[in-house]
Symmetry: C2
């Protein structure tokens, strides 16, 4: 199962935090940026900002969802946060054994600790806490080569017709939203040949 | 619990069909029209039509959801169908003991039988099958007084900040989407004073 998510997306937060227990292996991490996809739709911001009533609802829904899943929650004072740097680190490190830890800690920083995940300081602290060489990773994440990888990833998202996050791809089947994680996992288990990123 | 829905809304179909078993009593039916709400958002059609990738996803999601709930499914050849007449009948008859039957049969006509629920013939057949005086109801549904009731209902929806359907209101708490029906029912059961339409 490919797990496409944006570090700025609050519903992606729920799935990132649930996926270690639900799918301890077989998850192909696909960090990407929603911004360019929203821009193609004619939106200059998250629909949760542009659509006032929907946005207000989301901040009513999130604490209830977090309570249901036993997750901490603190409404970010800035939404959506800039997830560019986190996505660049994510795409650089997505095959590392500590990818799940990095994603969980970054999501918690954004949605439980109200920290600015867009800044180098927050990212460096998380990487250091994971025992990694933060300076080296921050440098590598911001090379032209890695920037191009993230742009290519977002183009892949468009080519796969992804319009929101989180999105789960099982072969050609798309599941959109944290509410579909269980359905996506059920399909993954019933069709093991589709369980890893065959559609790259 | 107030259950706000549009007969043209495919995710409302799922909730209409599930609600008899899940909540045999205590449901306050609130048929309304999404169109004027979408229009206020600047959209001249359903987002499932305007946003191509999301729309394509919905027709992939619906058969899976229907299979999960054991519901019949046939993608409507016209989407969204005109739900004005059905909504006028619904608001006229929402307190009748056969309201659940009317809603289920109208939804099945739209989403399992690909029938034009916007026409008088389909509505008359459903009403007659329910043992009702179809001609009298069709007449009463289209009086100025009843038309005004539906317009007022849609204004109430805007005042309650409803932006989509189905929407479940439990007191002041809003739950959006068929995926939140269980959560809304859980809150209804835990706060029985909020279980009927106190917020009219």
């Amino acid at each position: 199962m490919e797990f496409w998510f944006d570090f700025a997306s609050n519903y992606s937060y729920l799935s990132v935090m649930r996926i270690r227990e639900l799918a301890p292996e077989g998850v192909v991490w696909r960090p990407f940026l929603l911004g360019p996809i929203f821009k193609d739709a004619g939106w200059n911001n998250s629909p949760f900002v542009l659509q006032k009533d929907k946005g207000a609802y989301v901040w009513q829904d999130m604490p209830r969802q977090c309570a249901k899943y036993g997750l901490p929650w603190r409404q970010p004072s800035t939404f959506p946060r800039n997830s560019l740097l986190a996505a660049r680190i994510g795409i650089l490190c997505e095959a590392q054994p500590w990818m799940t830890d990095f994603c969980e800690r970054t999501m918690l920083a954004n949605f439980a600790e109200d920290r600015d995940i867009g800044g180098e300081q927050c990212m460096a602290e998380i990487l250091t806490a994971l025992g990694q060489d933060a300076a080296a990773i921050l440098h590598a994440a911001q090379t032209d080569e890695n920037k191009a990888r993230l742009r290519e990833r977002t183009e892949q998202a468009k080519a796969r017709h992804i319009f929101g996050a989180p999105t789960f791809l099982v072969g050609d089947a798309m599941f959109w939203g944290n509410d579909r994680l269980d359905d996506a996992l059920a399909m993954t288990l019933s069709s093991p040949q589709s369980s890893s990123g065959t559609a790259r």
